[in-house]
């Protein structure tokens, strides 16, 4: 385990061996060590492409452990302390007594108790108390959501399906718009029929539902194309990191170019 004190010292007063290490790692020691760890973990994760191995498993567990620990500390320091502990016990706030210090607010006891109720699921015989919190949460959120989802999502999407159909076609672009709108309208209707299970999908309904299946397949194809693009982007990001941030191949290429073609 690296001693942070040594790293801080390396940044301020570099001994010859530390300077040599810094030069080898490529500048700032802390950043360079972080880069080497990240590069090592990236290669460990890539090793799965060859085949499953213990190092990959180790990398996986390190990732999960660090993520869980980081999130927990984040929630505690960003939320539990300023929004629950400080309002309850304001003298614990480092800015207590100053205008920026937290003011006591005993109302936080109510969400605090509701939160403890959720944790009581772990205590045999007291798990039922968590239902109170969930009931409160679900009830409140449903009340907030219902009208907003209806007016902000359902109706605008419903209108957009019908609204897009132009009622007059006088030129080429308007014809294309009409075509687009019809595809959208027919696609939406046929997919809805496909998901309507109260009628047997035979005859006319079966035909319409089949059009719905084709519409869905086209949509899945488009999504698949986008997914490939996303995954390739992630690979490019990692390759950029390995090639330029870690190995500094851009600098190497520049030096090679200077040696081969002269200049400077």
């Amino acid at each position: 385990m690296l001693n942070p004190a040594i790293l801080i010292q390396a940044e301020s007063q570099l001994l010859p061996w530390q300077q040599a290490m810094a030069d080898f790692l490529g500048g700032d020691v802390m950043v360079a060590i972080g880069t080497w760890i990240a590069a090592g973990l990236t290669l460990i994760m890539f090793s799965f492409i060859y085949k499953d191995n213990p190092l990959f498993r180790l990398g996986e567990h390190v990732y999960l452990g660090i993520s869980a620990g980081y999130l927990m500390s984040l929630y505690f320091f960003n939320n539990m302390k300023p929004q629950f502990i400080y309002p309850l016990l304001p003298f614990l706030d480092p800015k207590f007594g100053t205008p920026e210090g937290t003011v006591m607010n005993l109302w936080v006891i109510v969400p605090g108790i509701l939160g403890i109720f959720i944790l009581l699921r772990l205590v045999p015989g007291m798990g039922w108390l968590s239902r109170t919190t969930f009931a409160f949460y679900i009830g409140g959120f449903t009340g907030i959501s219902l009208s907003k989802v209806f007016s902000g999502l359902l109706l605008p999407q419903f209108y957009a399906t019908i609204d897009a159909i132009p009622y007059r076609v006088t030129n080429g672009p308007e014809f294309i718009l009409l075509l687009n709108s019809l595809v959208l309208f027919v696609g939406a209707l046929t997919v809805l029929v496909y998901f309507f299970f109260s009628v047997e999908h035979r005859g006319f309904v079966g035909g319409v539902s089949r059009v719905g299946v084709y519409t869905l397949m086209i949509a899945f194809g488009a999504t698949f194309g986008y997914t490939i693009m996303a995954r390739v982007s992630l690979l490019i990001g990692r390759m950029q990191f390995l090639m330029f941030d870690w190995l500094h191949l851009d600098r190497l290429m520049g030096r090679l170019a200077m040696i081969l073609f002269g200049g400077g």
């Binding site: 902000g152 999502l153 490019i236 390759m239």
Partner: protein, 287 residues
């Protein structure tokens, strides 16, 4: 004789070791990064719409930004966020930034630090306010609709938001002249339903390619006025701002890998068809 050899070759191709395909993909990514081909990048109307909205707003307009992603989406969303933020800083707009994903704030802070090198006079509290992460998702969105200072008493750096000059003119979502959200998941749905639709604010979306198809219905319904989709969208925005960055340099690799995948799919399907025909012929011969 030829009819017998062809399926053997076809079968070998269809059973190609996946590691060969991975190696080809790795080469297709790495080589263009070292030797860029500078393939043209065509700007799509969806991206241009976001750019034009920010461009046409009078200087000093209020812009809200939400960066709802984490390092897993950094290669796609970071370049586009930086390009958009640079555009906003260049136009002297007022910017308020929130984050609804716990692992996102460090990326925004890094982006701000990098842009400060380009814009040394771009000041926290005056030109922009980075409010950081707040737990609650939808509740936070509803909260910023009422007041930034109530929802975020302190900014990412620990300063009181109520004392900030920028907050005096821009203290709730409804006061935004435009909003840009960067989304790696469905948090954008909540911004639209609980935020921009309620407060009648125009919004553009910078989204990862995986979730882009989910946001196109909002574009169709004019609930979004533009979409910057994936790395390609980021590169387009860099082209519009005339500052090529990470996304532009990555587009050659993206195009070459797409071509490789395209030909692999086409070839595999042709060979699968040939194989099926050959098997049917053999079955007939045997019958």
């Amino acid at each position: 004789m030829e009819e017998v050899r062809m399926p053997g070759f076809v079968e070998r191709f269809l059973k190609l070791d996946r590691r060969i395909i991975y190696s080809l993909v790795a080469l297709a990514v790495a080589l263009p990064l070292l030797w860029p081909l500078k393939l043209p990048i065509r700007v799509t109307p969806e991206v241009e719409s976001v750019f034009n909205t920010i461009e046409k707003l009078p200087p000093g307009s209020n812009i809200m930004m939400s960066a709802d992603f984490d390092p897993a989406s950094q290669p796609e969303l970071y370049p586009m966020m930086k390009a958009v933020m640079r555009h906003i800083a260049r136009k002297n707009h007022k910017l308020v930034i929130t984050v609804l994903w716990p692992n996102g704030p460090n990326l925004v802070a890094q982006c701000i630090e990098e842009l400060k090198l380009e814009f040394p006079n771009w000041r926290s509290g005056e030109d922009y306010a980075f409010l950081g992460y707040q737990v609650g998702g939808t509740i936070v969105i509803i909260g910023v609709g009422n007041s930034f200072t109530d929802t975020y008493p302190k900014d990412y750096y620990g300063s009181s938001t109520a004392a900030m000059p920028i907050i005096k003119q821009f203290n709730r979502l409804g006061q935004a002249d435009y909003m840009v959200m960067f989304e790696a998941g469905n948090t954008g749905d909540y911004w639209i339903v609980y935020g921009t639709e309620v407060h009648d604010v125009d919004v553009g979306g910078g989204v990862t390619a995986v979730v882009a198809p989910l946001y196109y219905p909002y574009l169709q319904a004019k609930q979004l006025n533009g979409i910057i989709g994936g790395l390609k969208g980021a590169a387009e925005y860099e082209v519009l701002t005339k500052v090529p960055g990470m996304a532009t340099s990555a587009m050659d690799s993206q195009s070459i890998v797409h071509a490789l995948v395209f030909f692999a799919i086409v070839l595999a399907n042709i060979f699968a068809l040939v194989l099926a025909i050959e098997k049917r012929r053999q079955a007939r011969r045997e019958a």
